[in-house]
């Protein structure tokens, strides 16, 4: 087991270094000189000295290999350089926006599982019935509905309902207040984006729960439990669901990808100043240092999540061989 853990953790290193190399390469693929592109995009004039200063600031006057080493080393130290747009440290900009995104992400995961696991189980128990069909359509619709459109629909509904109820339209607040300061204000801001992202994420989990449950329900020990005359809800909850939820754990990795993708667009819809919005802005503003840092952070988070999921799964399911 320990050998497996160490082996799996060591595998993270080449992936991360590879990803860093890819991000580093991508940002150097930008046609032309990024300093010229960046300085010229405002429409103003600039002289050679400004370009040289920009090169020096980004370390572009150094050999490529050293630049890469700097990039990786900076990443490990948490030093991502200076934002080309705001002039402030990248880490500072990210830290300011992190809490909103994190809160939405956590809430979305909770919402997704609260919707998905019961519905997936019911769907499997009532296989091929109209309820099963309805739940399957609901989950496929979750995958098909773009999160930004769902968000817009939420806004439409909020506006209409508040107009009807209070006589004047109400919109969720857009400036972030920590939950311990003003829980109501915080929740009214975060709940709709979390629902938007959560519904889409739940679709994946729902389908997995259903198919895993169907598989487990055909196992011999379920038949044995039935033959013993166990009450149905104990068979379902203790014997079937417990085993069926095991593969659902592996989905956390996929969910993470959905969450990140969902956050990028949903924050835009609800005008929230989170990581996703920062990402889109940095791409729009050609803030290459920021884009590079954010891509790298997301990838690192994603790789680490997947590693933890692998380890968790091996720990939960003793049948997995530690190869």
């Amino acid at each position: 087991m320990y050998r497996y853990i160490i082996k799996r953790l060591l595998l993270v290193i080449p992936t991360l270094v590879g990803a860093a190399a890819l991000v580093f390469l991508l940002m150097r693929l930008i046609p032309g000189d990024i300093c010229v592109v960046r300085l010229g995009s405002g429409g103003g004039t600039f002289d050679e000295r400004a370009v040289q200063a920009c090169h020096a600031q980004l370390g572009l006057d150094r050999p490529v290999f050293l630049q890469f080493v700097d990039f990786v080393w900076g990443f490990f130290r948490g030093d991502f350089g200076i934002s080309m747009w705001s002039g402030k440290p990248v880490l500072y900009e990210i830290a300011a926006r992190f809490p909103v995104s994190l809160e939405i992400a956590i809430m979305a995961v909770v919402i997704a599982n609260v919707i998905a696991i019961p519905l997936g189980t019911i769907s499997a128990l009532k296989q091929n019935s109209p309820i099963d069909l309805a739940i399957r359509v609901f989950s496929i619709a979750g995958l098909a509905t773009p999160s930004f459109w769902l968000g817009i629909l939420f806004i439409l509904a909020i506006l209409d309902i508040s107009q009807a109820a209070f006589g004047s339209p109400w919109m969720p607040p857009i400036d972030y207040v920590p939950i311990w300061k003003d829980p109501l204000r915080n929740l009214s801001m975060v709940i709709f984006p979390a629902l938007t992202v959560g519904y889409r994420t739940s679709a994946v989990t729902m389908r997995m729960t259903r198919s895993a449950m169907l598989e487990v329900l055909r196992e011999d020990y379920i038949r044995t439990a039935r033959a013993k005359g166990l009450v149905e809800h104990i068979i379902i909850n203790r014997h079937a669901l417990k085993n069926a939820l095991l593969p659902v754990v592996t989905l956390i990795g996929i969910e993470a990808a959905f969450l990140i993708g969902g956050l990028v667009v949903t924050e835009q819809v609800f005008n929230l100043n989170g990581i996703g919005r920062l990402f889109v802005q940095s791409v729009q503003n050609q803030d290459y240092t920021m884009t590079q840092a954010l891509v790298m952070l997301v990838v690192a988070a994603f790789v680490l999540t997947n590693t933890v999921v692998d380890l968790l799964y091996a720990w939960l399911d003793p049948r997995i061989r530690y190869g």
């Binding site: 098909a144 930004f148 506006l159 169907l214 990028v264 667009v265 290459y288």
Partner: protein
């Protein structure tokens, strides 16, 4: 198979009968699919409607998708404008019909290029194995570490916006996803005796790969292809919505939701509702069709 027809002067090829037989059995398979998979058929119908809308947009659309009519801005759905007009007085129905063309062009080009590249990499990697396989998997693992939309945004950050760059941006992250699935299918086929037999016959690598391995991974390939079209359409819509995809005045569904949709949310909700419905319906159609295709092609899932 029926008994082979006797070879006569008129019917020299013994294969002629087989061909018509194959054609008939394909039609029959399609018919069985429609009967057994009502949801899948429903999805197929949606996809067909969108395809017809995209192909024949010039003849179907009542107005030009880019013509402004300042006398009819943010007009509610009416007989003149079935789905209403946007803030520039452009007919929403016409823009949605032309948007189907953009969506399908992006969807199919991304899916086809990505799945063909994935097929070559996946099957090639499985067939040759060894070092090549090891290194290739390493590279693909790295690319897989980028969530789709993040990779797409990074590519757009480099090459800029516009329909061609969007296609590149969405295709790149799809390739390793396809290669990985097809590699694992191909790996199990490599061990099957008929591959050894083909090798023993002295056939070349390309012949073994193309004639013996590729046809056997067609089932997962087709399933992936349909799934990719839906994913690509969704990704394009997201990018366009963020202002980083297809640019005005090209009619694209995501783009239609970008400008006025939220601003006019309370006064002209149709601007926000219909383009999103078009995206959701199309992707829904592809997902239903893909799911049923999987059920029909994968014998393990057949009775589920």
């Amino acid at each position: 198979m029926t008994i082979a027809a006797p070879t006569t002067a008129r019917n020299l090829s013994p294969f002629a009968d087989d061909l018509s037989e194959i054609r008939r059995s394909r039609l029959r398979a399609a018919w069985i699919f429609c009967r057994r998979q009502p949801l899948g058929t429903f999805g197929m119908v949606i996809v067909l409607i969108m395809a017809i809308a995209g192909l024949c947009a010039d003849w179907i659309a009542p107005y030009s998708p880019t013509a402004n009519d300042f006398a009819a801005m943010t007009e509610a759905p009416s007989w003149a404008h079935w789905l209403g007009t946007d803030q520039f007085g452009r007919d929403l129905l016409s823009r949605i019909i032309f948007g189907a063309r953009t969506a399908l062009i992006v969807g199919f080009s991304c899916a086809i290029v990505a799945s063909v590249a994935g097929l070559v990499l996946g099957v090639g990697s499985a067939y040759f194995g060894g070092r090549l396989d090891l290194y290739l998997q390493g590279v693909l693992d790295v690319v897989m570490a980028f969530p789709l939309i993040i990779m797409a945004l990074a590519v757009v950050a480099i090459f800029g916006t516009g329909i061609h760059n969007v296609i590149v941006a969405i295709t790149i992250p799809l390739i390793p996803r396809c290669a990985r699935v097809l590699r694992s299918s191909a790996l199990s086929i490599r061990e099957v005796p008929y591959i050894d037999a083909a090798r023993a016959c002295g056939f070349g690598h390309s012949r073994i790969i193309l004639r013996h391995m590729v046809p056997n991974v067609m089932a997962p390939y087709l399933i992936l292809l349909t799934a990719f079209v839906g994913q690509a359409i969704l990704a394009e819509a997201s990018l366009s919505y963020l202002g980083l995809g297809v640019q005005e005045p090209v009619p694209a569904w995501g783009l239609m939701l970008q400008g006025g949709a939220e601003e006019y949310a309370s006064t002209a909700p149709w601007i926000a509702i219909f383009p999103g419905l078009a995206i959701a319906l199309t992707v829904f159609g592809f997902s239903l069709f893909g799911d049923s295709l999987r059920d029909a092609l994968d014998p393990k899932l057949r009775d589920r």
